[in-house]
């Protein structure tokens, strides 16, 4: 982009690239899709990931969850809009801030991906294809089932059983939400959800949103380790949490809204 500062512009400047068809596709999507990247202390990776996404022509907003390092500055220099939360508010609050920002600026889709380089922005293509499909799902999840270690796989199996959700990768942060899903998730009622669990998915499910998955390959994290499922106590916490949320909301399901 000619001016990386004004990322909110809807019509990215033309770019020369060897992969024209892909870029053209992205550019069409860019009219209505914004990429939201929640980041906390990810200065090491966030610049690169922002550059990768902006190279596809999609506008990026990085939501800095009160990082102690220079995440915000790095992202800004790489050409992203940056929302800086005034205190540590959690990944879901950060993503919701991005969603509200995107909605306010007229975007119809929001893609989320992790700031640590786990997800290849090029795979957004796969997700976009799926959300454009004839059955119009409201949310598409980029699932990387392979990454699961023993702990995760066990936890996920229990979560699936408890929640009744038929989704393989329950905690993937690589998703695309459509206008209807955004309208639902941006509401104040959904502010206290926690992201790294099934709360968001259950909420979507309860409101009749269609959620589907596509499998994407996943890069290993460039730096650091994942915060979730880092220890058995965390796993137990999420199991209890999800068991509560899963069972308490079971009865609230409604038929899919057309």
């Amino acid at each position: 982009m000619a001016n990386p500062g004004t990322v909110v512009q809807r019509h990215p400047a033309s770019m020369a690239s060897p992969d024209e068809s892909k870029i053209a596709r992205f550019r069409r999507a860019a009219h209505k899709m914004m990429v939201v990247i929640p980041a906390r202390d990810e200065a090491a990776d966030v610049g690169e990931i922002v550059r990768q996404v902006t190279a596809t022509g999609l506008p990026v907003v990085v939501v800095d969850d009160h990082s102690a390092d220079c995440t915000a500055e790095t992202a800004r220099r790489a050409g992203a809009c940056v929302l800086q939360l005034p205190f540590h508010a959690g990944a879901w609050a950060a993503i919701q801030a991005g969603m509200r920002f995107a909605r306010q600026h007229g975007y119809e889709f929001v893609a989320t991906l992790d700031a640590d380089g786990q997800h290849d922005p090029a795979d957004l293509e796969t997700l976009l294809e799926r959300i454009d499909a004839a059955d119009h799902p409201n949310v598409v999840i980029g699932a990387c089932v392979d990454r699961a270690n023993k702990r995760r796989r066990l936890a996920w199996r229990v979560l699936r059983w408890l929640s009744g959700l038929d989704i393989q990768d329950l905690t993937s942060g690589f998703r695309i939400y459509d206008r209807k899903a955004l309208a639902l998730l941006a509401q104040p009622d959904q502010t206290l959800l926690e992201y790294q669990d099934v709360g968001v998915l259950l909420c979507l499910h309860a409101h009749g949103m269609r959620v589907c998955e596509v499998e994407v390959p996943m890069c290993a994290r460039a730096h650091g380790i994942s915060r979730i499922f880092r220890s058995w106590p965390m796993v137990v916490y999420y199991l209890i949490y999800s068991a509560l949320i899963g069972t308490s909301r079971r009865g609230r399901r409604t038929e899919p809204a057309e």
Partner: protein, 119 residues
Amino acid sequence: MQLFAEFLALVVIVLIVWLIRRDRLPISHAIWWLAVAAIIALLGFFPNLLDALARAVGISYPPSLLFILAILTLLIKVLLEDLEVSTNRRRLLRLAQKTSILEEEIRQLQRRLDERDKN
């Protein structure tokens, strides 16, 4: 009449009124605590009330009814506080999101102004 209960009720009432006068406690909360003080005072004046009440609900040891009521009162109060805390947390998060959005928008407007001034 039990002097200690009356003394306790008096202390609570004085404390609540003092907090209201200092604008530390909103009236809505004060009503709850004044009601608690009133019940303490009532039971202090008429200790037999508790015995009668215990007999009526089939509790053979009346003081245990007192404990049940006290714990229940606190339980309800804490639960209400929890609800209020989460409402406030929700509002706080919404505000934090809003300020971050507005901040970014101001930054973009500022940048646009700077660019216009340059040209």
